[in-house]
Amino acid sequence: MKVLYSLGAVAVLAALGWLGGAVAGLRGLFGIVLPYAAIAAFLAGLAWRVIRWANSPVPFRIPTTSGQQRSLGWIKSGWLESPWTTLGVIGRMALEILLFRSLFRNTQAQLREGPKLVYAESKFLWLGALAFHWSFLVIFLRHLRFFLEPVPGCVLSLQDLDGFFQVGAPVLYVTDVVIGAALLYLLARRLFAAQIRYISLATDYFALFLLLGLAASGILMRYFTKVNILEIKRLAMGLVTFTPVVPQGIGSLFFMHLFLLSVLVAYFPFSKLAHMAGVFLSPTRNLANTNRMKRHVNPWNYPVKVHTYEEWEEEFHDKIKAAGLPLERE
């Protein structure tokens, strides 16, 4: 049901996008108003999200230590896995964000006869996730050619690199293949691995279908149907220079692509996709394991009711005395 709801929702959105291109009177709305609204929602939404996270303090220093602490000088300590310097923390975060360090540890537990528990290497999730995120980033950067004039050399180089294999005309981008495969893998996991299906919510499928729709419409445009690149660039430049023009003769497929993107962008801050920003704030990763070296201050540390020594001595006075232990008050 969750799968169908999500698939249905994305299909309706795609159809709406298509309609936005097909009906002349809607092109302004779908080509200009909604993209602007989506960007605004993205920026405002993400800022609100991050501010809300940041407004909750970090009362305690709670890094998850995945390596040896810094203690005695002659013991080799894990400067990345249990960092005690800012550089170490930056390194740990960089590994996490750029290479998905923690996911790389993934194993699969199997209970065999015996009983014998085996932890098998399981790198596919890591690979699929890394492939998807990096492809998405490259594709995003490639798209800058629509928004910048002249197109910066680095964007063109990236584009050349992405089309390195020089297959087909127009040249096939590696990332287009990879992102499709990665998304299908991530979807297949959710659909066919019983445990993952059990934990999946409608929103998990929705994000995947939305991304798949976005990628598919882009791929269709590039390799299979003709689109008017010049008109698209004119629209894109108009949007970024705040002199938008209603585009002509672009085709409905493009509007579908643009609308799905608008939805993704607007949906982003209000969904689990906000993990992109959230990972930077994760207290188990971005804090140094300097707990006993430097005092961490809790802004709301309030006084609590404690049992004092004096109260304790008073209650057990005679027993303490009988045991021959020293007393504060005889």
Binding site: W53, S56, P57, V58, P59, F60, R61, I62, T64, G67, Q69, S71, L72, I75, S77, E81, E96, S102, L103, R105, N106, T107, L111, P115, K116, L117, Y119, L125, A129, A194, Q195, Y198, I199, L201, A202, S271, K272, A274, V279, S282, T284, N291, R292, M293, R295, H296, N301, V304, K305, V306, H307, Y309, W312, E313, F316, K319, A323, L325, P326, E328
Partner: protein, 534 residues
């Protein structure tokens, strides 16, 4: 209870296929052996905690306060504003499932709600319903659930079926720490008086007497004296073990099980020998007679309330710094909470080993040193005369305790010690040690006998790894530096493995330590030493 526990062959028939029923429909069956009993009202009264009452998890009516829902939601709101971890971890999970089979309770039970992701979703679904727009509008479609009594019962069942071991957080790409989620869940449950006696009784005891077991000052003195007498018999040397001695250099704080339970007790003997032999000027405190802190399994406020006595005693006794014994969650509190909660300890001095002169730089703010750090430093400087052959009957492996591993990063110190005091040390497989270590299954206050089946299930991965080294290397001794481990691993080993003893690291130190003027024919367990048989 014991006769109700299934046999190992039955228990290991674990079905990992998720049920047909959607997880969002709450359904908990309080089956004997898989949950802990509720806290008795006297303990809550003593501590001044809300809603003390007679109730039982397996009964239909939990006698919740009339406005329980409002209390919980207000409590959630307050905590979302106080803990970034909580707010963030409610928002950013993508349900990738990497954590699923990292939990010992999931591996041992197959219950999908023991996957860390779903354990957190139990709370997240309520968060979405009351604190997010999408959840308010779309309800179930957005993964949101109403907070009902059944949902609360599910919280109770599953948040007291998590040992806050943090193993999942090692694997989570965003570092989401289920321990944080469980701690919040338990704090909320505590607001409406839903807590377990195996946690609340020690907390109440500790608040009153200074230790979890409720040992009063004269009892504490007796236990220590008894240990001194026993050591005199074993070694021919009468050590000093001062209590509440003002002006000592070091305050020594140990978990209360060390002086009241077995096999912890042999570790205590080890400490006493070591500190005597090194001539350390130290004192115990009969008031700060507990390093452990079951407040950690209750609420942040209770951590602070129980922890306060350690610095207070250090100040009163005018010591220079504090040494801490072998304990797991105690060290999570000392390492990650004490200084923030009850510091700054500006009345103490930066710890320096009186024997080697080593400055414990890593403890310069908190001023509290782990005994393994202390001992490893002694060995490194050649200050201890050790005869590892005295431990030759043991083929040793080491279990990293969750908290010293994933909250402190204390991996090498105990291993360094073990290699120095024994000739036969073997590591368990790498997926089961260090930061990937598996919990004993009984941590965070769940080590009670009425919960035995769940403990055995949760302990399966640890036990299985021990079995592996037993079969491969003939391992017969599981060492650890955690009082809860020492209390619960023996039963776990007997159930799943057999022929494995459990010991603290400092028991082996004590065995191997050659004391000046000693006359020894037995090890600390009273068994003959090789070549010294009478």
């Amino acid at each position: 209870m014991a006769e109700a526990t299934p046999k190992a062959e039955q228990l290991v028939q674990i079905d990992y296929r998720p049920p047909a029923r959607d997880w969002m429909d709450p359904a908990v069956e309080f089956r004997r052996g898989t949950f802990c009993y509720s806290a008795t009202p006297k303990n809550l009264h003593y501590l001044g905690l809300p809603s003390p009452r007679e109730w039982h998890p397996y009964e239909n009516d939990w006698k919740l306060p009339a406005d329980w829902r409002e209390i919980i939601l207000a409590g959630m709101k307050e905590r979302l504003g106080r803990f970034r971890s909580f707010r963030l971890f409610m928002d950013i999970c993508v349900r990738c499932g990497a954590c699923a089979d990292k939990c010992h309770f999931y591996i041992g039970s197959g219950d999908p709600k023991n996957m860390p992701v779903l354990r957190a979703e139990l709370l997240r679904s309520v968060y979405r319903r009351y604190f997010t727009t999408a959840g308010r509008l779309l309800g179930r479609l957005a993964g949101a659930r109403d907070l009902t009594e059944d949902v609360l019962k599910e919280w109770f069942y599953y948040f007291y079926q998590c040992t806050e071991c943090r193993r999942c957080s090692v694997f989570c790409p965003y570092g989401i720490d289920t321990a944080e989620v469980t701690m919040m869940g338990r704090e909320l449950l505590n607001l409406v008086g839903c807590n377990i006696n195996w946690v609340m009784e020690p907390v109440a005891n500790c608040f009153r007497t200074g230790n979890h077991l409720g040992v009063q000052p004269h009892g504490f003195k007796d236990s220590i004296d008894f240990a001194v007498d026993e050591l005199a018999e074993i070694t021919g040397i009468r050590v000093e073990a001062p209590i509440n001695k003002k002006g000592a250099e070091v305050l020594f704080v140990v978990p209360s099980a060390d002086y009241f339970a077995s096999p912890h007790y042999y570790t205590l003997l080890g400490y006493l020998m070591l500190l005597h032999e090194m001539g350390v000027d130290y004192t115990f405190s009969a008031f700060a007679s507990e390093g452990g802190n079951f407040g950690l399994f209750t609420s942040h406020e209770l951590i602070k309330r129980l922890n306060a006595k350690i610095y207070a005693e250090a100040k009163r006794l005018k010591v220079k710094w504090i040494l801490g014994g072998e304990c797991g969650h105690m060290w999570r509190v000392l390492h990650q909470y004490m200084d923030t909660m009850n510091g700054p300890a500006d009345f103490l001095e930066e710890p320096v080993s009186p024997v080697t002169g080593t400055r414990f730089d890593n403890a310069r703010s908190t001023k509290m040193v782990h005994i393994c750090e202390f001992t490893a430093d002694l060995i490194h400087h050649g200050k201890l005369k050790l005869d590892p052959t005295r431990n030759d009957k043991w083929r040793v492996t080491f279990h990293d305790s969750c908290n010293t591993a994933r909250a402190v990063g204390l991996f090498e110190e105990p291993r360094y010690i073990l290699r120095a005091v024994s000739n036969h040390f073997f590591e368990m497989p790498e997926n089961t040690i260090r930061e990937q270590t598996f919990c004993c299954g009984s941590g965070s206050g769940l080590g009670t006998d009425e919960n035995l089946e769940m403990r055995l299930r949760g302990g399966l991965p640890r036990a299985n790894a021990v079995r592996y080294v037993k079969e491969k290397h003939g391992v017969n001794l599981l060492t650890c530096i955690c009082a809860i481990d020492k209390a619960t691993l023996p039963a776990l080993m007997d159930y799943w493995v057999g022929g494995i003893e459990v010991a603290g690291v400092h028991e082996l130190v004590g065995n191997a330590l050659i004391m000046q003027g000693e006359r020894r024919t037995t090890d600390l367990r009273g068994e003959p030493l090789p070549g010294k048989e009478a």
